[in-house]
Amino acid sequence: MKCEELLAMLNEYVDGTIDPAVCGDFEQHMAGCNPCQVVVDNIRKTITLYKEGKPYELPVQFRERLHSVLRQRWKEKHTAPRRRK
């Protein structure tokens, strides 16, 4: 396996969906190629960091406005005369 071929299969490897038939080749290449090893490790860390990252804070005033709009719409919808029946 060449470095380029390893790169092309990177997603499948880190997501655990790689074809078991080529997984051995992938790991064998990594064992003998330090740059590829570090790239795979960097990619895993990149994904973890984003997964663990904090969401944006919801502005408090917007939250109040949002709930008020939803309550209003809910009432309109649920008290509207039913057309069918």
Partner: protein
């Protein structure tokens, strides 16, 4: 009346809350909103990078969920369903800004995914700290958001849905109206670009690996 934010509310599953909301309980719908509003807003912020737009998209998302709740059949999780609605709303905003110049996401196809079209890693180095240590740092979130903002939209949206929000490749493809093959190529490019950007800041220069890319492996 249950307070949507009461500790008890956290024990109720989404499915049960959806069923209650469908039966007409406003409290159940508000609990669902409280549960996901921050994630929807955050997704919209990272897609659009503009607070007013993100608020509009968040409001549209929950209004649309309210209107279409009966159409939610539970094939996907409630969260995935919401993210799909939010993505559609965000795409409309993006297209509005781009106006006539817009090429649809589908048209803006990637390379074929051939090996030679994948950008090569340039700066390769072990990171100085583990992700667990890094997430504790206040400045890290800014670094993550800045790196994301440098990505092309077509790569950023895929990465956000797949890796930040945890949708499957299939769900991401459905949300963006793209093929799964296309999602996979974009995801690979997004991950490689983010790796490159983050490693330039977080990598340890003393542990930089010099690549001998003579392609002889």
């Amino acid at each position: 009346m249950t307070n949507p934010q009461s500790p008890r509310a956290a024990e109720i599953t989404d499915v049960e809350l959806v069923n209650r909301a469908k039966a007409g309980e406003l409290d159940a719908f508000e609990t669902l909103t409280t549960r996901y509003e921050q994630r929807v807003f955050s997704l919209a912020m990272r897609m659009l990078r503009q607070e007013q737009d993100a608020e509009d998209v968040t409001q549209q998302t929950f209004l649309s969920a309210l209107e279409n709740l009966n159409g939610f059949r539970g094939e996907a999780s409630f969260a995935t369903w919401l993210f799909r609605i939010a993505t559609h709303a965000a795409l409309k905003v993006i297209r509005k800004y781009k106006g006539l110049k817009t090429v649809s996401l589908e048209e803006a196809t990637e390379g074929t995914g051939q090996v030679d079209s994948i950008p090569h890693p340039e700066y390769i180095a072990d990171w100085r700290q583990s992700p667990e240590q890094l997430v504790q740092k206040r400045e890290i979130q800014r670094l993550l958001d800045e790196a994301l903002a440098k990505l092309d939209e077509k790569h950023r949206l895929v990465f956000l849905l797949r890796d930040v929000e945890g949708l499957s490749v299939k769900e991401t493809a459905e949300a963006l109206g793209l093929s799964e093959a296309n999602i996979k190529v974009r995801l690979l490019r997004a991950r490689l670009q983010l790796r490159e950007l983050l490693t330039r800041t977080l990598g340890d220069p003393a542990k930089q690996v010099i690549q001998k890319h003579d392609h002889a492996h």
